[in-house]
Amino acid sequence: MYEIMTEFIQPADIGQVHCIKGFEEIQRRFPVYLSDESKLSGAHADYLFFPADEAELAAVLVEMKRLKAPVTFSAARTGISGGCVPPRGAVVSLERFDRILSLRHEPSAGEWRILAQCNVLLRDLNRQAMDKHFPELERRHSSADAAALAAYREDTRTYFYPPDPTEMSASIGGTVATNASGARTYRYGPTRNWVRRIRVMLASGEVLDIPRGRYFASPTGDVTVQDAGKNQIVLRIPDYPAPRTKSTSGLYAAPNMDLIDLFIGSEGILGVVTTVEVALLEKHDKLSVVQFLQSDTQALDFVEALRKDARVRPDFIEFYGPGALDLLRKRQADDPKAVGMPPLPGPGTTAVFFEVSFDPDAEDPGVGVLETIAARCGASSEDSWAGYEMRELDRFKHFRHVLPETVNGIIAQRKRHIPELHKLGTDLAVPDDRLRDMWAVYRDTLDGDGLEWVAFGHIGNNHLHVNILPRDLHELEKGIAAYDRLAAQAVAFGGVVSAEHGIGKIKSRLLSLMYSDAQINQMRSVKAALDPGMMINPGDVLAE
């Protein structure tokens, strides 16, 4: 209950673990392992390992401890906080942990669950679950697998894995490490809500196998870990209050918490997740709608009305500010096929993009209420786009990704003239009752500074991505200063500094805006207990 024993893994012979030695060699032949999507520079590694299984991974950890070289874990490298960028020591690629291990039905929860190694990609897991086609399991010819597969296929319902970060080529282990979120987090919650079991390897090379619902923090806030050498490691769960919004800012902590949640979202600083079991959800037909509104105020009215109305249960509610639509309109003029949608309405409009359950064959599909809600806010459901066929839903999904792509394209162009330029993207969330206030703060701060900016994102969770596009170094400076002011304001409203991107290496300073030194030290204590040698993912979350 409040105590867990590690599993000892006999390390393999380190000599058999595939390894590339020497920074020059790694930089020349394998530069991808030195970066992620944050494009953080200054990476360094003297060793690059490719362990094939837990035994080889344990061997690497033991050996690197012996050589006093810290280890940074690397999987799909789609992160945008520099989490897998090695500062020194070794970088360990988990790419060979890429198999789906089993599919089973858990009767007590009435759920289908998939057990996968950490480098199974999100889109592959989802594709296989939806198509009911698992090449790995079919190849293995085990009778248990065959029975599960047959039962799964006989089940006429369709299933999917709800967490939907934009980057579906992320690894499942990566999404667990960062408690990844997407648009659907509005209705279904973040990754945390869908993880049923993890195997996490600690810095010592020993493994904790944690199913949800078995190990908890004691009433005094402790969990005891007993390792192979019979040592008792006491983890003191931090006592700061859990955030009121979706959050990937530092270690998750709550009274009587399930131990599994300590590791989910810990960004690899407490251990590396090698295997994870996730639950699937039944899929229903959906209607995707982009509702156009005449102003940002009208958009906020519409969002609040959607949230409040009990007759409507959107899967997600997303937002495009006026600047965002301006950008897309320009892109449409240059390359209509890239945007793939009919002409966007005129300047000044905003858009709210949402999805609700919908049965196209029902005589009354029950979406008339959406017309009423729009009318009450002074908008018209004629000024909208809607679709429900699979190919239309794909079009809408593609449309959601065009804006960030377009922003990146503009920044890339500006970088050609001024290489030091980069975009600034906020990842702040606030509680429901502060949405309007936060929007006013964004507008006043950024318009006040005369910066070019666009806002879009998960307005249902009061979590907007505000991208500042500096046109010169002076604007970049102003933007960075503005960024910190915005983060402080979000915290003052009871929000968080990182809602889904994680802290990684680039947002540690923001952590101090949200937590006191004492609270951050509580996080450090947990890390120190599980990783006394400070061997794994140095520089992530907690500044060195």
């Binding site: 198509d131 949608m341 009919p342 979406v367 909208s384 809607a386 190919r391």
Partner: protein, 272 residues
């Protein structure tokens, strides 16, 4: 003005795969959609309706009950009403029997039509036969491969810009007549939420064989003049080579060497 648009529901062909061992079609995961060329025809009808207020657009289709969803799509995209001709007796029809049936449906349901629009071809059959056959069975003139069209001032004629081998030509035809649509918008339209909701209260009528003035012997498989006697997978090409991981210089070298070896470019190794 009444414009009849004949449409077909087809499988999303780009997703259809063949099980090479059995030569059968893999039907799982293949969605049914409104034939793209039929959507072009509907777009043209809606465009003509906008230019000529008071025009009614009627979507018509022959197929199994699930064809309803393709007609619903037409209603969402601007058709005023829809007619589904569905009956077990229609099953297995070749293009001749289909044309006969659709002509009978139009005669029964929209006898006072002014214009019939069809898509150039259906992406599952690709015969492009049904449009001209409907025109012939109804004694109407036809203009095929239309790209855009406009009614004349008195709306007694239509001018169609159509594709020909040498480019384009504009053809004038007296109404009533049949026009097929060959090209559509670059970006497919999206209905508004209102259009989707309203579509469900637009009239969608189903007709069966008894509602039509047509002999049973002309219907379905029994009425077909052609008969499929064999189905088999196409021959696959002998395995070629696929080269990956080459940089542009390496790729250029590989292609040049190949073209020289095949004697499309001079300088290859002598073949003896």
């Amino acid at each position: 003005m009444k414009i009849v648009v004949c449409v077909k529901q087809v499988p999303e062909i780009s997703n259809v795969r063949i099980n090479r061992e059995t030569g059968t079609l893999i039907r799982e995961g293949v969605a049914s959609i409104l034939n793209p060329f039929c959507e072009y025809a509907l777009d043209l009808a809606v465009h003509l309706k906008k230019e000529s207020p008071g025009t009614e657009v009627i979507a018509v289709s022959m197929g199994p009950p699930q064809t309803r969803s393709a007609l619903m799509r037409c209603l969402e995209l601007g058709a005023d009403r829809a007619i589904l001709a569905s009956d077990r007796k229609f099953a297995g029809a070749d293009t001749w029997a289909t044309g006969k049936t659709l002509a009978a449906v139009i005669k029964a349901a929209v006898p006072d039509f002014n214009l019939i629009l069809v898509g150039k071809q259906a992406i599952d059959g690709d015969t492009a036969q049904v449009g001209p056959e409907i025109a012939e069975f109804m004694g109407l003139p036809q203009v095929m491969y239309g790209v855009t069209a406009e009614f004349g001032k008195t709306r007694k004629r239509i001018r169609v810009r159509r594709e020909v081998e040498s480019g384009y030509e504009v053809v004038e035809m007296r109404l009533p007549g049949v026009v097929s649509a060959s090209k559509g918008r670059l970006i497919r339209r999206l209905p508004s939420l209102k259009a989707i909701i309203d579509a469900r209260s637009k009239p969608l009528k189903t007709l069966t064989a008894v509602d039509l003035d047509i002999d049973d012997s002309h219907l379905g498989l029994k009425g077909s003049l052609t008969q499929v006697v064999r189905i088999f997978p196409p021959q696959s090409r002998a395995d070629g080579r696929k080269l990956e991981g080459l940089d542009p210089e390496g790729a250029r070298k590989a292609i040049l060497a190949f073209l020289q070896a095949q004697h499309y470019v001079e300088g290859g190794q002598p073949s003896c």
